[in-house]
Amino acid sequence: MTTRDDIRDDLPLYALGTLEAEERAAVEQALAEDPSLAAELREWSELVGLLALDAPDAAPPEVRDRLVARVRSDQPADKVARRRLGWHVPLAAAAALLLSILAYREIGFRAERTRNVQTLAALQKALTARESELATANASLATVERDAASLRAALAAAEESLSVVQQRGLTLVSLKETKDSPPAQGHILLSPPTGRALFYAFGLPKVPDDKVYELWWITEKDGPVRAAIFHPDEHGLGRVEAAVPESAGAIQAAAVTVEVAGGVDKPQGPMVLLGNAS
């Protein structure tokens, strides 16, 4: 049986850590049952601690520096190098890190610049395509606008013609080619109440650029009175609106002559169409 004296004899060995497992268990049980043994054990433990002072080697200065570095960086233990490093290694590591950072930034700048150049080129290409599309659209718009202008003009002419046709007292004058003229015909819608007239010609050939067709009223008092000039289209269709003279007396007939460009005040050229108003 283990006595208290046996335990006390084992306390220095327990503090030193040389007891076998069974002996340690016995000491620990006694320590739990007798707190006074704990104070005695503490003294033995302190004595064991003093044995460390028998090891005289001094620590290299860098150990302190590494400890301070770890504390400041608060790195976990396994992050600290396991070999003596000296100063050149951390300096080299710092330099390598700096170079890495600079290289990384340089690579980053270059990559970013390349990306920017590529982006700019793509934008320029897209801009060129948009400009081309815009030019095409503008051309189409111009065409459409021209067509619209033509349609508006045609609509205005149609409305004008309709306004003449819709008036009361409308008179129709038919015109035919003269003896020595190529086959052609025409008619005039006269609206005396409004003083307006619409002339249509069919089958008239084109005249030279320095020539023009001129429409005449043949009146009772003043004879031929200038009504309008016109150019037929490629199909031989000519159309023109003219005013009916008020003071020239009754209109007896209408005629078309070929005159110099700009027209004349009295007919001088060959007559190609003629029709009586009565």
Binding site: L51, A52, P56, A58, R66
Partner: protein
């Protein structure tokens, strides 16, 4: 307790309080005081300067991280640190048991270099401990060194020395009693 011892206790209490307040200067002061002793202990156990450095740093790192675990009523801070360092050093040696050990023998050459920051009091303690160890018989010292620096049990020491188990226990016990008699005045100091 001497005036120097009382001053040291108060100073240690102050440093521990500063450590708990995460004051880095307290840690470096304690390192300056005990760092070389811990390094020497670790070097003596492991026989490896790199391992000794790492153990030294880890010991103070343990103090820095877990100072709240230190209870001044259960022992001195010095002993707490030495216990940590010794335990880690022995664990390291055990981890590489194939390595040839030389720590059982007395040191053939004593390096008297010390850090200038070490206190005169600690230097005096070193001298007293060394003198006390020198006063032991060679057999006692060998057995004690095997126990302390290699962490061997009685049976392992007996096997190593080819001595009876009882003889080994007696030698170590007598060595400890002799040391206590010689170093008793230091035991009340932190």
């Amino acid at each position: 307790m001497s005036r120097a011892a009382i001053t040291n206790v108060l100073d240690t209490d102050h440093l521990v309080a500063a450590l708990r307040a995460r004051d880095e200067r307290a840690l470096t002061q304690l390192y300056d005081r005990y760092g070389s002793a811990i390094y020497g202990l670790a070097l003596r156990v492991t026989g490896d300067a790199g391992a000794a450095e790492e153990i030294s740093i880890d010991t103070f790192w343990q103090l820095w991280q877990h100072v709240d675990r230190f209870d001044g009523t259960q022992g001195s801070l010095q002993n707490w640190l030495f216990t940590i360092a010794r335990s880690r050093a022995i664990d390291r040696v055990r981890a590489r048991i194939a390595r040839k050990r030389t720590t059982a023998e007395d040191p053939t050459e004593v390096n008297e270099v010390r850090r200038p920051e070490e206190t005169a009091e600690l230097v005096e303690r070193r001298r007293l401990v060394r003198d006390a160890m020198s006063s032991l018989s060679a057999d006692q010292r060998t057995a004690l060194n095997l126990a302390y620096y290699e962490g061997l049990s009685h049976s392992q020491i007996a096997e190593r020395l080819q001595e009876p188990l009882g003889t080994v226990k007696t030698r170590i016990r007598q060595a400890m009693i002799a040391l206590r008699r010689t170093l008793g005045p230091l035991l009340s100091m932190p």
